[in-house]
């Protein structure tokens, strides 16, 4: 049975109101196409995944605006439907600093040199609270964005990155408190404060790497949900946040620096308070940052193709 006989068999029917697309002249149709695109037409190649895939940085750059909008969204929604809203951003560093000061400055009496203990602790907490918050949210980012992953294409890396970047917003507030506290204690920063952003940047990279790693793992293994809070607890104790890196003996200090946050926090403090930099410590930590970045990306690129099928 052909199409015509199929529809032709109902002769008493009104004719089908079908749009005869062929009637429109092609020349008219084509104009207007591509009027929006400034870039030349690219060809997209779809093929099975290969054993090793590199991160497509060019594509990531193409989608930078999506990263911006997703980051913005994460910031906008984070404190929605909370009673005290944005005040959480201020409460966390203030209260934690107060508790640390109460416990460690009066009992443990860590030697923080010329730096008052609250200032010392807050400097560590600025980095730590950022890492903690961002990793917690990033590691869950695919699971909480299922509909994005299963319905649209974009470089998957953007999802954990956006969650990490959104943490920078909180960081701004804790830095503001830090500045106020520095003024209160009358600490005048030296020129080495110019290096502080470098350490924040390192913290950002490290946090993004860990968050990305766990976000990918979480798609397949929901164990991550339980492992991450526990890991963060251990990590906090293993990082020089409420104690100085110098309490670890000289011999073990470089082993200690394999924890990337050791060098980052120590360096951040040195730059803020004009103390001498322990470049060996910072160097080892930088290396650790690079290693964890590469490791995270390797795991991520291996797993990302299956996300839509697994989430």
């Amino acid at each position: 049975m052909t199409a015509n006989s199929f529809h032709g068999s109902c002769s008493e029917n009104p004719p089908n109101r079908r749009l005869d697309i062929g009637k429109f002249p092609r020349s008219v149709i084509i104009n207007g196409l591509n009027a929006d695109q400034t870039q030349p037409i690219q060809t997209i190649r779809i093929r099975p995944r290969r054993a090793f895939e590199a991160v497509n940085l060019a594509e990531l750059w193409e989608y930078r605006e999506l990263l911006y909008f997703l980051t913005l969204r994460d910031i906008q929604i984070r404190y929605k439907q909370t009673a005290i809203g944005i005040a959480w951003v201020l409460l966390q560093p203030i209260i934690t600093t107060a508790i640390f000061t109460l416990i460690f400055a009066s009992w443990a009496r860590f030697d923080t040199g010329s730096v008052p203990y609250p200032l010392f602790a807050l400097a560590g907490l600025v980095i730590w609270l950022f890492a903690h918050g961002s990793i917690s949210i990033a590691s869950n980012s695919f699971v909480s964005n299922v509909n994005l992953v299963t319905k649209v294409y974009f470089p998957r890396l953007i999802v954990p990155l956006a969650a990490t970047f959104a943490g920078l917003f909180d960081l701004l507030f804790s830095v503001a408190i830090l500045i106020i506290l520095m003024i209160y204690y009358g600490r005048v920063p030296t020129s080495s404060v110019l290096l502080a952003p470098v350490f924040v940047f390192l913290a950002l990279i490290q946090t993004a790497a860990v968050g990305t790693f766990f976000s990918a793992l979480n798609v397949r293994y929901r164990d991550v949900k339980f492992a991450v809070p526990f890991m963060l607890q251990v990590w906090m104790i293993a990082s020089p946040i409420f104690y100085p890196a110098s309490i670890v003996s000289e011999k073990w200090r470089l082993v200690f620096a394999i924890n990337p946050l050791t060098g980052i926090i120590d360096g951040f403090r040195s730059s803020l308070f004009g103390l001498p930099f322990d470049w060996q410590l910072i160097g080892v930590s930088c290396l650790a940052v690079v290693v964890s970045c590469v490791g995270a990306l390797l795991v991520f690129t291996r797993m990302e193709d299956d996300f839509a099928d697994l989430v």
Binding site: P14, R47, V152
Partner: protein, 399 residues
């Protein structure tokens, strides 16, 4: 010029073992020999085709035929297991309306977010913003969080953003099945406009009517294989032929307690071929076999068509003796419903034998499910437009 070229696209899913949802399972699997190597599901099986510039292609197939998998591969959401595809130009895929919409954000914020997710540049959204808002008809609520929107408003805004994406290749999956009728019409118009402006459109829908309206060519998938491609009308015909899988009602053993009993029933199309999907412009027949041990006086057949909500569309009864020859112990009955009468929708039958006293001798409810398929009515843009097609008269007197 070829815009899409797909070669041997294959997608396999491993069933069973493949999903380790916890790390422990995964570790355990290393030590355990693999049991089910055989259970691989081929969602897509060596599918090859090309699509030219400006073509509008309808993808047809039954549930589980591989349509969604094909769309997901072409929109790069998942990768094929084997095979390659090349697409020239920007791909916009609408597998869902409102992807990434966040309830806490305002309409305005969601337009930007959703636009970016669909692959639009910020400058592009800025430029089209007014147009998007106007199309959506939600200007007044632009700065209200979308959680306060009605579902209609939500859908309208979401579709508007999607409709203003100007990709070279547009992939659409059933999104027209949303919103009120007027808006659906508007959406269909927009799709048609996109098709006519020289863009390539891939369109998956179960609504054969709108496929026939919008598309020029069709691809028919079944069990992951591409089994036919060509002009849309031919593909729809092939699909209907394929969909004529039989929904046969048959009792296992006769019940001797019943003096009369329906033993078998099935639906056939105009050509007498058993079918469960019938075009709206085809005659349809309910065929049934009846066993008669005892010709009860005044016994009646009752046939009713049930809607998908199981209420009656119509009821018809007839004396058994008027239909079945006297003294027959078994008979085959053919009950016909003329074409162009039942509207495209899902139905089933109620088939009874009862006595004038009201006693029901044999009762068969909700048997022989069937679907009337829209192969191009004027009303095909609507998802559900009732149960009957009528040919009314319209008159007016002007003053």
């Amino acid at each position: 010029m070829q815009v899409i070229k797909a070669e041997n696209l294959t997608k396999e899913y491993k069933l069973g073992v493949a999903r380790h949802n916890s790390f422990r399972d995964s570790v355990a699997a290393v030590f355990r020999p693999r049991k089910n190597d055989g259970s691989i599901l081929r969602a897509l099986d060596e599918v090859s085709f090309t699509v030219g510039e400006g073509e509008t292609i309808g993808i047809i197939g039954r549930n589980g035929a591989g349509k969604s998998t094909l769309l997901k591969i072409l929109s790069r959401i998942t990768k094929p297991t084997k095979g390659t595809a090349e697409i020239r130009g920007r791909v916009g895929s609408l597998l869902e309306v409102g992807t990434g919409f966040h309830n806490e954000l305002t309409g305005r914020e969601n337009v930007y977010l959703n636009g970016a997710i669909l692959g639009m540049r910020r400058a592009e959204i800025d430029r089209k913003f007014d147009e998007i808002v106007e199309f959506s008809e939600v200007e007044r609520f632009l700065d209200t969080p979308v959680k306060h929107y009605s579902s209609g408003m939500y859908m309208r805004l979401a579709f508007s953003v999607a409709a203003h994406l100007d990709p070279e290749v547009l992939i659409v999956d059933e999104v027209l099945a949303v919103g009120d009728m007027l808006f659906q019409q508007k959406c269909l118009g927009k799709m048609d406009e996109v098709g006519r402006s020289g863009r390539t459109v891939l369109f998956v829908s179960h609504n054969l009517g709108s496929l026939a309206q919008i598309c020029q060519r069709g691809l028919l998938l079944d069990n992951g294989k591409l089994i036919s491609s060509g002009p849309i009308d031919d593909t729809i015909d092939d699909y209907l032929r394929l969909a004529k899988s039989v929904r046969h009602y048959k009792i296992d053993a006769p019940n001797p307690a019943k003096p009369m009993q329906i033993t078998e029933a099935y639906v056939t199309n105009s050509e007498g071929i058993p079918a469960s999907e019938i075009a709206h412009d085809e005659d349809l027949f309910l065929n049934f076999k009846v066993r008669i041990d005892d010709h009860k006086r005044g016994a009646l057949f009752c046939v009713a068509l049930l809607s998908k909500y199981k209420d009656r569309v119509f009821t018809e009864h007839r004396l058994v003796k008027d239909v079945v020859p006297k003294d027959a112990v078994e008979a085959e009955v053919r009950f016909g419903i003329p074409r162009d009468f039942i509207a495209p929708n899902s139905y089933s039958f109620l088939l009874q034998i009862f006595l004038p006293t009201g006693e029901i001798i044999d009762n068969n409810v909700d048997i022989c499910p069937l679907t009337i398929i829209d192969t191009g009515t004027e009303l095909s843009i609507y998802k559900d437009y009732g149960y009957v097609q009528i040919k009314p008269t319209w008159e007016s007197t002007g003053i």
